[in-house]
């Protein structure tokens, strides 16, 4: 078969191109990360090469910066080459064991265990009840990071994971997946990544939540709340909620009035709440008592164009 080489080459060159939005997104991010205009001629040439590459890749995509990327996982640090202009500076509030902020598809996270993430792409995220593990939705997968920051396991999913909810004990994870047909499916997986199974399809895109004892999962469907009681290694069906359901929706958004601000995220904690605001072109994350005037700013991300709602969680 003398033409094997040619045939393989042709087959590989015939693979489909990426969707235009992928090129555009890659170009935008690459442009963000290109070095700042340097002083030396050598640096100028490099920067020009970077900008030109991004422009060609993205067919003219905008190169405006949106946020620095700086990932610290355990003891591993991968700083970017840019000055940390819009650095987040996320810090843990007193007595907390972990904090996660997901804005504009980028995750910012700190735990007392030493895991720090700034700018990781994610579609959903929540810290485990003991603040040791982190569950992440990343494109078509659910991933759990271990206390060392390494990936403990990954479960492939049929679509993007848009919400994650850890049970207190035993360790279950309830999560929502957007199916290819657009419907939202609630699934449950055990904490070690075993026995992933669907619970209900066609549920509302509201984050599910667990009862205090971790035995029941509540989720929104058909305008009401439903409950589901998972069993180890078994598939169960959801059913309508009884009277106990829906009385303590912990993440129901409570509007906190702040001058000139739009509230874009809210999550209750044991002694108050954590919430996100957008005002004056910045995204702010606050924590503390929910009374008027209460709370303390934990994080201000200036110059972020993060659209949509912001997921915030505190342990």
């Amino acid at each position: 078969m003398p033409d094997l080489d040619d045939r393989i080459g042709r087959a590989l060159r015939g693979l489909p191109d990426a969707a235009p939005n992928v090129r555009e997104r890659v170009a935008r991010r690459a442009g963000d990360l290109a070095p700042s205009p340097p002083r030396s001629m050598r640096g100028r040439r490099l920067a020009l090469a970077g900008v030109a590459a991004a422009a060609v890749i993205g067919t003219g995509a905008a190169l405006a910066g949106t946020g620095a990327i700086h990932v610290t996982v355990g003891s591993r640090t991968q700083p970017d080459a840019r000055p940390a202009s819009p650095q987040t500076g996320l810090s843990l509030p007193p007595r907390a064991h972990g904090i996660a902020v997901l804005a504009g598809g980028r995750l910012h996270l700190r735990t007392t265990g030493g895991v720090g993430i700034d700018g990781l792409r994610a579609t959903a995220a929540e810290i485990s009840p003991n603040a040791l593990y982190v569950a992440l939705g990343q494109r078509r997968s659910l991933t759990v990071l271990s206390p060392s920051g390494r990936r403990a396991w990954t479960q492939a999913t049929a679509g993007p994971v848009v919400a994650v909810s850890w049970a207190p004990y035993p360790v279950w994870i309830g999560y929502l997946v957007i199916l290819p047909d657009g419907r939202v499916q609630l699934r449950v997986i055990e904490g070690d990544g075993d026995h992933d199974r669907p619970v209900a399809t066609g549920v509302a895109r509201s984050r599910p939540y667990w009862s205090q004892d971790g035995t029941r999962l509540y989720f929104a469907q058909d305008g009401g709340w439903m409950t589901h009681t998972p069993s180890v290694g078994r598939t169960d069906r959801g059913g309508p909620c009884g009277e106990s359901c829906g009385v303590a929706e912990p993440d129901r958004v409570r509007q906190l009035r702040r001058e000139g601000a739009e509230q874009v995220g809210f999550s209750r904690t044991t002694d108050g709440a954590i919430w996100a605001l957008r005002r004056n072109g910045a995204m702010e994350v606050w924590w503390g008592p929910t009374r008027p005037g209460g709370g303390k700013a934990l994080l201000v991300m200036r110059g972020t164009s993060a659209p949509g709602r912001v997921q915030v969680s505190l342990r």
Binding site: G9, R45, A53, I57
Partner: protein, 149 residues
């Protein structure tokens, strides 16, 4: 520069066999490459440097994924052309190769590198490259002969 994108994208797609993973690889590779432009030696060609990042990142992802969920040949074919276009037999044979052998084939037959250059990109001896390439082509030849028979 257009060639950088086309080559990088198709290499990522061919090695991972999944569009979503290829997007991750392409994004990571270009981000890493551009973030490190300040450390890039401009006297050297840009393409091998970028392709080294793409291929190694793709292999890392595939190895991790394989441990956790396995790679599905059918899924790869779906990502490689849901419209049924292209040389389906050749793509099917490529999808059946191990990721390491597929990476060598991609570097040789898509990106046009010589075995010594591939060895440098992958960080393995030239003998290993020649061995992987030879076995991969044997596998492909046998698979295509069976299909064409």
């Amino acid at each position: 520069m257009e060639l950088h994108w086309d080559g990088a994208w198709r290499a990522a797609l061919a090695i991972t066999g999944r569009t979503a993973m290829a997007e991750d690889v392409a994004q990571d590779a270009f981000e890493r490459a551009f973030a490190a432009l300040g450390r890039f030696d401009e006297r050297r060609p840009f393409a091998p440097w970028l392709h080294r990042i793409v291929v190694n990142r793709a292999l890392d992802l595939v190895r991790a994924e394989r441990r956790l969920v396995g790679l599905d040949e059918a899924a790869a074919l779906q990502a490689w052309g849901p419209d049924g276009g292209g040389d389906r037999d050749a793509l099917t044979a490529l999808a059946a190769l191990s990721a390491e052998r597929r990476a060598v084939v991609v570097l040789r037959h898509l990106l046009g590198y010589s075995p010594p250059e591939i060895a440098e990109i992958l960080g393995v001896p030239v003998g290993t490259v020649n061995s992987r390439l030879g076995r991969a082509l044997t596998e492909l030849r046998v698979a295509l002969e069976v299909r064409d028979a």
